[in-house]
Symmetry: C2
Subunit: 193 residues, 2 copies
Amino acid sequence: MPKLGMEPIRKAALVKATIVEIGRAGSLDVTVSQIAKRAGMSSALAHHYFGSKEEMFLAAMRHILTLYGAEVRGALVAAEGPEGRIRAILRANFSPTNFRREAVGAWLNFWVLSLSVPQAKRLLAVYQRRLRSNLIAALRPLAGVRAGEIAESLGAMIDGLYLREVLKSGAPDGAAAAAVALRHLEAELARGA
Amino acid sequence: MPKLGMEPIRKAALVKATIVEIGRAGSLDVTVSQIAKRAGMSSALAHHYFGSKEEMFLAAMRHILTLYGAEVRGALVAAEGPEGRIRAILRANFSPTNFRREAVGAWLNFWVLSLSVPQAKRLLAVYQRRLRSNLIAALRPLAGVRAGEIAESLGAMIDGLYLREVLKSGAPDGAAAAAVALRHLEAELARGA
DNA sequence: GTTTTTGTTGATTGACGAGTCAATAAACTT
DNA sequence: AAGTTTATTGACTCGTCAATCAACAAAAAC
């Protein structure tokens, strides 16, 4: 009973399943059959819609990055004032969403994937630039010309804290990470004044 | 013409070859045959000495961590004064060695591996604690009771800067990364005073 | 000098997995 | 109604790969 207009639905299901399976495996070592099964279809259909496993990975990566972008944007609209905007960005970066199994698996594995797949590296670069410009925009009123360099260090701090939170055993603590990042920011701002 | 006492030689060659192959592939998706071939022996011999691929990976990881530890220690013995010790640690972390293809591949992939292999997670934890205690020891004279929290943020900063340097396209710049880390440190110290 | 230990490999096994294809069927077009 | 497009899968191909094994060779032990 083939209904029409299945393509977007199937693709969305496959993308979601891909991310879940990567999270479960903790690696990109997942089979198309696993993914297809979780998405409720045959592996042949997965190939029909995506052509190859790599395309599936890239689509999954786009999806993760889109979600991440949406979370940042969502946090930003509710934010007031420069400091509020910074806090919003930190909140989005260290939200529980990003510490879920699937998100962690996706991020770490996509970093690795970007070592060997140029397309993946490009996707990552786009989002890094976006974070950077968000940070700079929020920092400008607070730090003036130093906004650029502070955005750079704060960005690195965010990545580093996330990585550590994710690699350590035990439950991750996003709030603590955000607090450390905020302390870093205050110190940098104080230094400039 | 089997010479005796081959075991350590063969194992060392395999460990080295494993790291090189992971660097070339940019992932853990390397075959035992590739590794064995690069190490100049049959894949059967590789299995003979290590039993399984996972054991090879773990041995490679131990080796990378040992090299890293040695580099830090080596930089520390030549260092004078608390600030000199911090600088030494930064220099070791951002040395060209750690930006070589093999090292990058090893680090990123071992982070990923630690998501699914507890043994790998444990190895990583040992070295993270060691870095932490090195940092605290050097920071104590400079920061007193705040040494702990500053070590935490500086450690995260180091990881974050390394990650960004490694993921960006173009030649990595360890010196620039070290400079940013140092600026962070100064800001934190100034804040305390 | 025979037995044991160590080193070594080619061949094989057994499994798995990406991607293809032919076939079936429902829905839309003309 | 005939033809086309979309959805769907089971079966299959072709390749790969981790791990095992039997067999051979040299040194050491006895």
